[in-house]
Point group: C2
Chain length 479, copies 2
């Protein structure tokens, strides 16, 4: 078992010393390498750069595993401590496409450092926040700890994927193929930055799942033109697929925003004590005005909820959202047609214990029961929710590090309302706790002028060190 | 009053003689001149060409009247017959844009004659059918009649507009400014070709009106994001304008395609005897299979109507049609947002005695009554219906000429389900009968490879002569 030392202040000192001349240039070197999973641009080069960095850290068994699109980079850092447990480090090296290029203040792959109001000196580059900054900062921190202590207190297994931005398709076979070995690890630490634009840090204990599908109404046996758009005057004697889609949708959600799918809520699990506790804690620091006026630009929450009720809805309510709808003539001025098809995109956010397949089946049945068996459902994504509890060593390490960060109003999100591939680690057969937390003010991810404050990158490294230290402390206490 | 002669066979002979070498080249000369009202391309040149042709016919007072976009060409042919009545000839010289150019078999302004299955030799050119072919054919016919008889039996007032394809905005002030003089004329003859692809000729005694508007739902006091699209996970606590638009639309038309706007049908006039008569006549020759399978590509009519009921619906039912709908993310794959606005385009076809303004007011009231006062209605077009009866001399002349054409299953449409500017002539203060009829198989109007059979152009001239002759005959009988 690990011999605990009070080594954190030494690490902070060392990060201070090395950050500007050694760490920051290494961070910039990776954002200068494009890596777009969708097009494949720079993917192999970037994967190789990441592997080289891992080899430089002293990792063993480093290699690229090819599955669907981009290779998964896998490498293991063996601890000098005997019988040390293994922490899985999950990160990503791909980035969103930088378009529209003309909206960038600096070229997206230049690795420029400029002043960004109101944050001050920032790296502005594609991928700096999501998530090459946190990736290289973690490497830097490992190196500092290892060189300062003369050993690294844990085994690390780096799993760095290259298609997070397009559905993590390769991560599924990777975790499946390595399930047995993964399941013996301590947990998974996700590389990211978790500090909002007001400086409040947070960590998450899971995320909602998502079912994403298209609903398409086409002319068919029920009526409507089947082959091509016809002149609008024919609406006097021919049905319209847009009306059909509208009528079908209206059966699914009423004018008061109540979801009417039979059994939709049946699998929604009651909150356990810990989830209630963290939901209450979030509600205590919930800044309603900030959300309404600066984040959501809305005058009221759904069903006029306020305070904890609103907060509870965001975390624990499933959704039935129309992301987009289109059909017929959508150009300027006027054109009259009865179109032959109309489509919408719908996403359902799944809370524990809703499953994508069962939810889709309920929606299909609802449409059939209401006479809309002609409406086609085309599934685009079905990602289960992920949920871990707060009791694991890695969760407690993240929460402790966050509470010690000095930043007030830090928050544990018992579940995050977005979706992601975490279930690949947290669901059977791997069944590990997966937690994220680290500092660093950053933003504009998936948008032009993605940024990370220079100060935040340094604090990201320190916060990562704090997670490692707390994890070691907790493991020793438990030993 | 006109002295009647049996001159029609002589005119036919003369058209046969002159068509190929004299008439057809003149038709081609006009389609070779572009004239796009929307861009102004070639408009002034084309207007001048039309005016030159009218001057060549011996017209007086020929000039261009400028109002909104394209000038109206106005010219008068004075009859050598004393006290001859004046027939207004309403035509157009603008055409739809030819795009997409790559789909044309020949350049759209070349005036090429090629074989088109199954019609044989055709002029394929933008505007040949809609409506430069009928325009020049009419000029040719007038010249033949005048030269063959040594006089022209009627006064003609040519009103040829150049923005029919963009709403006839200049025609409104033209008819208003000349209302007094126009109202003293005999009637209006509209230049067109009225023979379907199966060779069946038809004439129309009016057309439906149209109210075209956009409905827009935006985030506002009711909820929903107001300024920009927000991440889809926020659907758990923020309303969605697409849902709002869907719910609002659903209150307007139910799942059985019944229009639910209060008072929507209040002003629908009962059919008079003549309208019933012609509706029955149409139903007798109504080819249900052809419509379902070759025109509409639909398996059934609205409300499962058949035969006369379906025919009646096309002619006499008002509509509430969604021409297009759009909002949120409509690209490939998946993206989750709660959009801040959603829009649809709606057209209402107005039957006698529905008026655009009153109908819009009813829709506004319906939305307000159902709690959707936030949904904005943006009017794009409000064009009244036009309705004339079959008893006028020009209507009887067209119907007689059609019945004498030798083409079976000819049809009088008591009202046409499309819309147009005819009301400018038929409504007060002008209040003239306006009728159309002439032969010529043509098609693909507003599409690539617009065509008119060469044989049809010649028959168009003959049918126009037959209308003039029948009109003279009827006027003499009435004298």
């Amino acid at each position: 078992m690990i011999r605990m030392e009070n080594w954190l202040p030494k690490i902070y000192d060392e990060i201070e010393k090395r950050f500007e001349e050694e760490h920051l240039p290494k961070v910039l070197s990776l954002v200068r390498q494009p890596s777009i999973a969708g097009t494949g641009e720079g993917i192999e080069e970037c994967a190789q750069m990441v592997l080289d960095m891992l080899n430089d850290l002293g990792c063993e068994e480093g290699h690229l595993e090819h599955y669907v699109y981009s290779p998964v980079v896998s490498a293991k850092l063996k601890s000098e401590v005997e019988d040390a447990p293994t922490l899985v480090i999950y990160g990503m090296y791909d980035v969103q496409p930088p378009e529209p290029l003309e909206e960038w203040r600096v070229p997206p792959y230049e690795g420029a450092i400029i002043d960004v109001e109101p944050y001050g000196e920032c790296v502005v580059a594609r991928g700096i926040a999501n998530s090459k900054g946190p990736l290289v900062c973690f490497f830097n921190t490992v190196k500092v700890i290892k060189e300062t202590l003369g050993y690294f207190p844990l085994n690390l297994w780096f799993v760095i994927e290259g298609e997070e931005e397009m559905g993590s398709e390769s991560l599924a076979p990777f975790t499946k193929n390595h399930a047995d070995e993964l399941s013996k690890c301590l947990g998974v630490y996700l590389l990211s930055a978790r500090q909002d634009e007001n400086g409040k840090p947070f960590t998450t204990l899971g995320n909602k799942g998502i079912l994403y599908f298209e609903m398409e109404a086409r002319g068919g046996e029920w009526g409507g033109p089947q082959k091509l758009d016809i002149h609008g005057s024919n609406a006097a004697w021919v049905s319209n697929p847009i009306w059909r889609l509208v009528n079908a949708l209206d059966t699914m959600r009423d004018e008061n925003d109540h979801i009417l799918i039979e059994g939709f809520y049946d699998d929604v699990a009651p909150l356990n004590e810990m989830d209630e506790f963290y939901t209450d804690r979030m509600a205590e620091v919930f800044d309603e005005d900030m959300y309404l006026n600066k984040r959501l630009y809305t005058s009221r929450f759904l069903h006029d909820k306020r305070g904890r009720d609103a907060q509870h809805a965001l975390l624990w309510e499933p959704t039935l959202n129309i992301d987009g709808i289109w059909g017929g003539y959508t150009g300027p001025a006027t054109k009259t047609i009865v179109p032959y098809h109309a489509t919408c995109k719908v996403d359902v956010r799944l809370v524990p214990n809703m499953r994508p397949e069962e939810t889709l089946a309920k929606i299909r049945k609802h449409l059939d029961d209401h006479g809309y068996s002609d409406i086609e459902l085309i599934t685009r994504q079905g990602t289960p929710y992920s949920k871990v509890d707060a009791g694991s060593a890695i969760a407690r390490a993240c929460i402790s590090a966050m509470e010690q960060s000095g930043y007030p109003e830090n928050t544990v999100w018992p579940i995050f309302p977005g979706s992601g591939p975490a279930y690949l680690f947290t669901d059977p057969p791997v069944s590990l706790p997966l937690v994220d937390y680290s500092l660093g003010i950053s933003g504009q991810i998936h948008a032009p002028n993605e940024y990370f404050t220079v100060k935040g990158l340094k604090e990201n490294e320190m916060s990562v060190a704090a997670v490692i230290w707390n994890l070691c402390r907790i493991l020793e206490e438990e030993a």
